[in-house]
Amino acid sequence: MIALLLRDLRLATRAGGGFGLGLAFFLIVTVLVPFGVGPEGGTLARIAPGILWVGALLASLLSLDRIFALDHEDGSLDLLATAPIPLESVVAVKALAHWLTTGLPLTLAAPMLAVLLNLPGPGFFWLTVSLALGTPALSYIGAFGAALTVGLKRGGLLMSLLVLPLYIPTLIYGADCARRGAAALAAGTPLLMLVAITLGAVAILPFAAAAAIRVNLR
């Protein structure tokens, strides 16, 4: 299992692994928004939490179809399905690897990029906390979507359409937590809801995704 995690991390950081892809996309979005919206600090400060959360969500979506599609193409997924480790833990580990290569770097980069969007001082802490606790849900929900479309050629479009509605609760509570934090209001309730979504996704979706993969491998 650790071997699988290390392999996925190693593949992501080697040439063509797509490690920097999400991060670069996140950077582009947050750099371009101030040019598009205009330089007034008040407007930017108001939309900053939402923009940062939407940016992180889309950046995480960008590399989702790599989770299983590449392994399916080269036959590794067949072999993993017949290996002595359960497919559920294969899914959980691969989603974790996806989070470590997209969600975690996005979380670490967000405070720096928030400066560009004039995020108010108290918001930095809540933005980072909400992303750190919310992005794992994005990876696990995404792994489920990727598992549903694993056998399809160019399944990325269908997967995005399947996954986006499932992302909405995470986005609402995550952005709300960051927004209330930035406005110096109590942000505990949306944070708890966000954590609940993440824990639920981590606990349940590997089983659903493994079932979907079994059907798709037939």
Binding site: R7, T82, P84, I85
Partner: protein, 205 residues
């Protein structure tokens, strides 16, 4: 006994391809599966490997007994030969990968990226995975594709070693392997009868 199939039927994409396949395979034996393209050789091997359920019938196989080698070798282009094999050894709980590399003559290539291997070398690496998988029954789908004569001889040597240690193998292939321990089975005899023309309308009649 390594494997017993009792009257199994298999389907591919909802179309039945084989029915009534019954066979047993004992330790130290190999069974060569013959049949024209599309006869259902791969579908049968995937069914035995547990990747798809049989339509009917029973498969008796010790749990975690089979290692499957498909057309695709499951290699990652940006990992080296040793890293690829090390990964599968870790997944299957094997120790040293040195003997497997040596057996398939891959030791000189161990630090080469898999993307820089020739097709035959990739296949050899895919077959080396069987040695680290430590399963007694090997399900091999055209194992000799893109191998040269010397590599086929190397593979036969490895396979004979496996059979002598009490392993077994089910091999779908078109070439003659010349294995003493091998019997042959032709899947043509088990071809599923095509659905009657107009059978679709039966439900509406």
């Amino acid at each position: 006994m390594m494997l017993e199939l009792v009257d199994i039927s298999v389907a591919r994409g909802g179309v039945p391809v084989l029915e009534g396949v019954t066979l047993t395979l004992g330790a130290g034996r190999a069974l060569i599966i013959r049949g024209p393209n599309g006869a259902g050789k791969t579908t049968m091997l995937r069914t035995i490997a547990g990747l798809q359920p049989p339509v009917s019938g029973r498969i008796v196989l010790p749990p975690e007994g089979a290692a499957y080698a498909a057309h695709a070798d499951g290699l990652k282009a940006t990992l080296t030969v040793a890293e690829n094999l090390r990964f599968w050894a870790d997944i299957f709980g094997a120790g040293d990968i040195g003997p497997a590399l040596a057996a398939m003559a891959l030791a000189p290539l161990r630090d080469r990226m898999a993307q820089n291997l020739s097709a035959g070398q990739k296949r050899r690496l895919g077959l080396a995975r069987l040695l680290v998988a430590q399963r007694r029954l090997w399900l091999l789908d055209e194992p000799t594709v893109s191998l040269d004569a010397a590599s086929v001889a190397l593979f036969l040597q490895v396979l004979s070693g496996h059979l002598q240690q009490g392993g077994a193998a089910l091999i779908a292939t078109h070439i003659s392997l010349g294995l003493r321990e091998a019997e042959e089975i032709d899947l043509g005899a088990f071809r599923a009868t095509a659905p009657r023309a107009g059978a679709f309308d039966g439900a509406f009649a």
